[in-house]
Structure formats: C-alpha cells, structure tokens
Amino acid sequence: MKQVFKDRPRAPERGAAVNPDMAALQEAEKARRLLAAIVESSDDAIASKDLNGVITSWNKSAERLFGYTTEEMVGQPVTLIIPPELHADEPQILAKIRAGERIEHFETVRVAKDGHLIDVSLTISPVRDEKGTIIGAAKIVRDITEHKKIERALRTTEKLAAAGRLAATVAHEINNPLEAVTNLVYLAKRDLQDAQKVGAYLELASRELDRVAHIARQTLGFYRDTSTPVPFDVTQTLDDLVFLYETRFQTRKIKVVKQYDQGVAVTALAGEIRQAFSNLITNSIDAMSAGGTLVIRAARSHSWDSARLPGVRITILDTGSGIPPQHKAHIFQPFFTTKADIGTGLGLWITRNIVEKHGGTIRVRSKAGLKEHGTAFSIFLTLEGRLAGTEKDDQADASSLRSSKRMVVA
C-alpha cells in the first residue's frame, strides 16, 4: 500500500446519504483524513514503511528533521537514513515487526540528507490491514540531539566535580607521606655519622615513597578513559579504593569488612566501573561521620530478573545514617543532594548510568531509623558487560557500541 499522507484524499461525496454502507464508508474516510491530518501536523517525525523496509509515508516533521521531501523518500529504502555501520539493525527491526512486536524508545543514530548524524529515539509499531495481517510499520522518530547534549554536559560536569574531590583526597594522601620523607631525609643528613640510624630513616622513607607511588598509580589511572571493555578483577579494584580511602576510614573510625568470592572478574570499562564503586564508597563514608562498619561484598551471582544470566554482584553496605524514606524516590535523580556543601547531586545518577550502560542493575535498601540505620547498594554486572554506550562523544564510536547491545534488548 503506497500511501502518501501528504496526498489529499478525494473529497467525500456530499448530499443525501445513499445507503448505510455509503455512510460507513464516509465515516471511515473522515476518520482517515483526521488521522492523516494529525500525523501530518505532529511535531515528531512520523513515517511508515512496508515489510521490505521501503518508505510508504513521510510527514512534514520527517521532512524537517531529515531534509528529504516526501517525494524524495516515498519508495526509497529506509536504509537511506540509517548510517552504513548500523545497516545491520534494519533486518532485526523488520524481523521484530513481522513477529508483531513493537519497538519502544530505541535510542540510536540516524543520518540526514546533508550527512549530519541525529541522535534519535525510535518507536516502531507494526501496521496491520483489516484482516489483521502485518503489512508494514509505523515509525515515530524523536530528535533527542539536545537531550543527548545536555546529558553529555552533565556528565562532564560530574567528571570535573569528581576530579576535584579526587584531587583533594590525593593531595592529602600524597602530601602526608611527602612530609614524612622530607623529615626523614633531613634526619638522615643530620645523623650522617650514625649508619644504623640513617639506615632506619631510609627504610622508613622508602616505605613512605612506596605509599606515594601506589597512590599516584591508582589515582592517575583513575580517569583514564578506556573506550573498550577489558576484563578486570573486581576485588582488586575494590581493594585499591579501600587503600585510597584508608585514612578516611581510620580518622572516622570506620571498620571495613571485605567478603569476596575468589577471582571475581567482569569485562567492562574498568575506569567507569571504578568510578561507580568509588561514588558508593564515598557516600558511605559521608554517611558514617560518627564511625561504623563498611561491608564490601563481591560475589559470583546471577541476574535478579533471569537466573540464567550469570554475573557478579557487588554490595556496598554501611551502618551510616541511612536514606530518609522521603528521599528514596529521588536519590538517582540528577542534582538531588542532601550534602549542599560538598555534593553535586550527580554521584548516584552517574553511578546508575554507568551500571545500566553495562547492562547491569543497581538496587538500594536503606533504613534511617534511630536504632536501625544503614544503607546497602547492590550492583549486578553481567560477566560480559554488554555496552549500551550512550555517552561517548565520538558519534561513530557511539553508534557501533550502541548497535552491539541495544538491538539485543530493543
């Protein structure tokens, strides 16, 4: 059915109703025109295609968004607006449509006539004829370029804020051992005649230097942006973070309990997962200003939703002040913070983004009572860390990441 919404339907016959069949036909025609008008005036780009992926209709907003006119598009394959590296998506989309499935809010990239890439959210539904046979698909395309831009800006902001917090921690962790080394070198020079003393000072100095070196290695690697997932040891990453925040645990009298399964590893963007863990641990530290216990658990497990999906569950549990019930609904929202002085309100939002980008899930349980209080965040990561990749700035890179997972779930 090659139907172009833009084409004006034949004006219905006016005059005395002839017979009931005719009246029904006129009603149907009226409804069809109304629908066509709605489609035509919609702010969202709306198009339809047949089961071979050939465009059958193309509304005004689609013309505006992609730069192709209706005349140019109708009869053309839909792949005209799909970037070449994502062409493989189309048969999968068509297969789903044939199976009568609907694809909702599928975030991907499309390409306009002038070649520029557009971040879009697609909703594609099967179209049936009067007998119920699927004959094509209707597609609503929402331009989410602005939305994506804002998301990226927010992420950058949070990265800067996190870098600032990290710099403060690093300054403290590095300047203290440096102070000790400076003093020890002074003493070694002063007591140069006493080989035994000098030996002892140098031994201590060397230990302090190891501390500085370790912290530098940890933190300088912290924000290294790896764009490809790598297999990494989850417990090692958790240990490194515990080491990094060691003094904070000591000064706040926080006891750290580690419960690890042996050899827990996942394939993921190591730096980002590390940031997610770090956000949860620092939140726990902030919640335990009067001391407490931090339990860090890493166990081989399976998904909450599907017992067949193997993965790793990391739980960060504290005996801190807890999340008041009225805040629970908001903690993952951007800019929600109860720590006005030091918080950006983006930590948990980012954490959830990172986890979900890896196809994982995050859950929270918390009690904020006087007697019983504390919070437990659990992150489930699949072993293979399938990437949804919605945040890379590099469009081409982003689309290839997208195609790798989004289609699996779409």
Binding site: A167, A168, A171, H172, I174, N175, N176, L178, E179, A180, V181, T182, N183, L184, Y186, L187, R190, L204, E208, Q250, T251, R252, K253
Partner: protein
C-alpha cells in the same frame, strides 16, 4: 623552647619531634587535639605545631582552645589538603587568623619560623 607537635600520622610526629629535639628544643609529640589542649595547660609550651585536618578536635579548634589558655603561645598550623582553607575561612570570620604552612614543609623553614618572632615573620 617548649614545643608541642600534633598530627594524626605517627611518623610525622615522631620525625618532627626528633628534628626539634636535635635543635635543642623540648618537644612533645601528640596525636590528637584534645590531649594537646590538656598537655598545653600543664606544660605551657612556647609554641605548638599542629596539623589541621584530624579526627575529633581539628587543628583550628585546638589552636583556638590553646590561644585562650596561653595567649603568648606561638601557633603554627600545617596541612596537606586544600579543604583546610574552608576551616580557616570560618576561623577568620570568627576573628581568628592563623598561619598555615603547606605540607610538605622543609624542616629548615619550620625551624627558622620558630626562631623568628611572630610579628616579623611576615606571613
């Protein structure tokens, strides 16, 4: 000169006490602000060298308490972290002005500071 050194990192306290003692000072090392205040009252030191960010009573609270007990006591704060500037700004708003040295401090610089009268120290 009688000097109290306060820092929650034992290795820093130990080395500073060693250095100050070696220069003929009578130095006592402590790990927290509360005991520093207690000892200051008994020992009546000429100077106190204290870390800023410590668990419990921080260096600025310690300095304020000792200032009230011993107005003539020389107070030198040292810190490894920028976060201490917030604490200092707060103290300044309350009318206290302290000199803060950034860690790591060259011991020669610290000794020189202690040997120079406060009003001519220039910082």
């Amino acid at each position: 000169m009688k000097i109290i050194v306060v820092d929650d990192e034992p290795i820093i306290v130990d080395t500073l006490v060693n250095i100050l003692t070696g220069e003929g000072h009578d130095a006592l090392g402590l790990s927290d602000g509360k005991s520093a205040t207690k000892w200051a009252e008994m020992m009546r030191p000429d100077a106190i060298v204290t870390d800023v960010l410590m668990p419990g009573m921080n260096g600025i609270e310690t300095a304020k308490a000792i200032m009230q007990l011993l107005p003539k006591c020389r107070i030198i704060l040292f810190s490894g972290q920028a976060a201490s500037t917030d604490l200092l700004a707060k103290a300044r708003a309350e009318g206290y002005s302290f000199e803060v040295l950034a860690k790591p401090i060259n011991p020669d610089v610290l000794l020189e500071k202690l040997n120079t009268p406060e009003n001519s120290s220039g910082s």
